[in-house]
């Protein structure tokens, strides 16, 4: 019986104007997102490879000069454009994409490239955007009259006059709406994927297919919340127009206002750590170390170009400089984690809305967004440590060096604190960002998936109870 209700519902929906309008709108949007992505991806990849190759060729040159020059070469590491930003772009265009680092210290992440600061913040037309705003709206439009509409038409009492339990009607209607909703979703995804695959710049590998599949499942889970919500509201009221009004209000609050409030929440909950503050902290740390320079050994504060000058104390100097760099690195890391924490707090507060949860889960699966940027920064810091270790091990091979691997370029140059021998470029570690496997990405998203399930359960229970007690006359 459930199946019969479902088929009736699907057929009725398929013939309705709202379905046709949604189908057209959604397919157009998905097609646009495909074209937009292909163009953007080609441009970003070209930029990325040009910059990365420039960086590597400079590094190669420095390696062939001397080890110390390779160590002090400030590498520019760019964020690689990702195929799966097709699914969830996660505001990456306005997030840091440029990371600079040598073997001793890294700068804070920066935004560089073709971004336009004068444009208003906008979300890319990626899948998550289309699904979370437009398709959720379609879900409400399809379900707002599922109960109250039939009641108005008088068919609900006819249906329930037969020997059909109410829960079967509810389930039939739910599956009917979900299938109807899946049609524009799947059609749109296919259109978008076909456009992307047929372009010559992009190749989708097996792992990416799996992740795309996972995002599709997440999307269905998310849309199901809105279907339940629509049915719940629909079985609370006798008039379908009132249901529509109520649902629109809920939609505006959940989809537009709450996610938009994130910035305000973040700024109210904690003060932005400012650049001025960072510089003050850096000054303080530096001053403290310089004032206590004798702690690192006699004459640690002195540095003249002659290594045999009795006023110089190379080991003490190296200790001082290392301590100074470690301290400033620490200050920068703290600053960075405070920046990140502020944004993440804001985001967690927006997670009252399923839109934010869904976006966060898809970003985790696709491996994009703010967490990816933070992750790259962490990996750059790890890479920096690995590079330093490499310099240290190579330096030991050179008997002419003082073996004082420390972050002062002038001592490395004039005292030979670090080896001046050239090194083989191929042995130098290079920065690499590895994609997570699907299992690991899902693990990151597990809480969000749980929350989405919870939302489903709550609205299902609400719809169920309301419909059981619904006056069908």
């Amino acid at each position: 019986m459930t199946r019969r209700v479902m088929f009736k519902e699907i057929l009725e929906n398929l013939l309705s104007l709202r379905f046709v309008l949604s189908l057209v709108l959604v397919i157009c949007l998905f097609a646009a997102s495909g074209f937009v992505f292909v163009g953007k991806f080609a441009e970003q990849s070209a930029d990325y490879w040009a910059e990365t190759n420039r960086n590597l060729s400079s590094l190669r040159e420095e390696c062939s000069n001397a080890l110390y020059r390779a160590a002090f070469y400030r590498q520019t590491i760019w964020r690689e454009p990702k195929l799966l930003s097709l699914c969830a772009e996660g505001f990456e265009k306005s997030l840091p994409n440029c990371f600079r680092s040598d073997a001793f210290a890294s700068d804070l992440p920066q935004v560089k490239g073709r971004g336009n600061f004068a444009l208003p913040h906008f979300s890319d037309i990626d899948w998550v955007f289309i699904i979370s705003t437009v398709l959720s709206f379609v879900a409400l439009v399809l379900t707002y009259d599922s109960m109250s509409g039939e009641k108005e038409a008088g068919t609900l009492r006819l249906m329930l006059a037969n020997t059909i339990p109410r829960y079967k009607v509810l389930l039939g209607k739910y599956f009917g709406s979900m299938f109807t909703l899946a049609i524009p979703l799947i059609a749109g995804l296919l259109v978008s994927l076909i456009i992307v695959i047929s372009s010559k710049h992009v190749a989708i590998d097996a792992a990416a297919w799996l992740k795309i599949f996972a995002v599709t499942i997440l999307s269905l889970l998310y849309l199901s919340i809105f279907v339940f919500l629509g049915m719940f509201v629909s079985s609370r009221s006798a008039h379908s127009s009132n249901c529509m009004v109520l649902l629109l209000v809920v939609w505006v609050v959940l989809v537009i206002l709450l996610p938009g409030g994130g910035r305000i929440f973040a700024e109210i909950s904690s003060q932005s750590p400012t650049q001025v503050e960072l510089e003050r902290r850096l000054d303080e740390v530096g001053k403290e170390i310089w004032d206590n320079s004798e702690k690192f050994g006699k004459n640690a504060g002195n540095m003249s170009s002659d290594p045999n000058d009795p006023d110089n104390n190379p080991p003490a100097r190296a200790r001082l400089k290392t301590a100074l760099t470690n301290a400033t690195n620490q200050v920068r890391d703290d600053h960075h984690s405070r920046l990140l924490a502020q944004a993440l707090t804001g985001r967690n507060l927006t997670c009252i809305s399923p839109v934010a949860i869904y976006a966060r889960a898809s970003e985790a699966v696709a491996g994009t967004g703010i967490n990816r940027c933070a992750d790259i920064y962490r990996k750059v810091r790890e890479y920096q440590a690995a590079l330093k270790e490499y310099v240290r091990s190579k330096d030991l091979e050179d008997p002419a060096s003082l073996h004082l691997v420390n972050p002062e370029l002038s001592t490395a140059r004039s005292w030979r604190a670090i080896s001046h021998n050239p090194v083989d470029f191929d042995t130098v570690p290079k920065f690499q960002e590895r994609d997570l496997a699907l299992g690991q990405s899902l693990k990151l998203a597990i809480w969000d998936i749980g929350l989405l399930l919870l939302f489903n359960l709550v609205f299902f229970a609400a719809a169920f109870v309301s419909f059981l007690r619904y006056d069908v006359r």
């Binding site: 840091p96 600061f117 537009i256 206002l257 932005s272 503050e277 985001r347």
Partner: protein
Amino acid sequence: MIRKIAKKEFLLNLMTFKFAMGTILCMVLMAVFVPILAKDYQQRLKIYNDNVARNEAELRKVKVYKNITPTIYRPPALLSVFSAGLEKQLGDSARIELGSIPEVDAAPTGDNLYLSIFTVLDASLILKIVLSLLAILIAYDSISGEKERGTLRLILANRTARHQVLLGKLLAGVVTLIVPTTIAFVVGILVVELSPMADLTWSGWTRIGLMYLASLIFISAMYNIGLLFSCLANRPAISLILGLFFWVVCVVVIPNASVYTATRIRPLEPKAKTDGQVALLRSEINPETRRQIRQTVDIQSYQNMSESDVPGAFGHWYVRGCSKDFFECYQKTNPVTEPLRIKYADKIWEVESGYLKSVLKQRQLADNLSRISPIFSYENATSILAGTDLASFQYFVNRAKAYRNQIVEYIRSKTNNFSSPSYFTTCSIEDVLEYEKDWGAKRRRDEKTFDPPLNLEDLPLCIYRLDLTESVRKAIPDLALLIFANVLFFSLSFVTFMKGDVR
């Protein structure tokens, strides 16, 4: 007759669930968000006041003309509570220096890059989303609903002209929508007025008044759109669906898509290219300076170039004592090197303004594309009136540029084209001679005495005030567009209704 229809329609509207819901939502949202936005404004105002005070304190410490490098700050706009625009996205300070022209600074000081994962929320967002939705919800069944219920043919069976019915409906709709709009504005203004911060000036009141007016034109445009769909469809369910889809396209699709299209049609060059050109120009400065110095003075004749620096204002140092050679050499070279720095600042600005132009062109294109949606025109008009749009920001940058030229001229006139020793040192020629005799004694004495700060009473002040008439002039195209949308959609529904079948 129009009045009678309007009155009936208005009373009917007042009793509906959608009207109650929309009005309550507007009120609640304004009451919740405006205090938060106002608090945010206060925070920014405090930072601004601190910055200005610090700048003034530094100005009082200036000992030599070379050290005059004040920073001017853009005051936060109070009306950003109503329309945030680009207020937080763009730079809010400009350092006035001889060697550079203030440029557009992308990130305001203390901005957290990671916060860009959130869209901007302000009162106009609430107004434009909720009110436009309410307008469509109220309009969708005004004609098609009566058609379905069969009351429309009864009305028209009397001697009522069709245009009277339509005008009556329009009037009733607009009057109905004025109620939540007014409530939202009153709540917003009350919250702003009650919170402890700068009072609204009359220009602020005028701006709010104009925003209110813009809101009315906007909701009337949205109502006309709903009316058109109501005339087009035979059943209210259909006109509702049509109206809602149109609304979603206007609110969600067009703003994002147009910005995106603009970045595709007119892509920006990577900033790194401009940075490279600037770096190249900067690297020319030192060799050029040395060449010019060699041409003007015989550098070899100055043997003893000793000096002692002490920290001065704005984080710079100044010359506290020096040898006679140093003293004379700098008096001769400064009139050469400083104009050179100014010249290079102009050259660098030329390169940077080229980049800036392409940035602004992209933005212009995005704006023009967005204007298909009346919601954008409304948003733009309110942000212009609030002084948070791009043009207000450009005004700030231009102001900073003009102020920098004023300061340069001031220093030039005060120091006789940079040739006076007061440009770089506090010593006079007598001090210098004394130094030459006994460097140590003078230095010990100097450590106890302090140089008097310069008298900067006649230093030009930077006044940054947005002109009201200018804002209004800039808002006119968008307001005109909104009025045009009103006329267009009303005439379309007029034609449809005149020819339509009322049965």
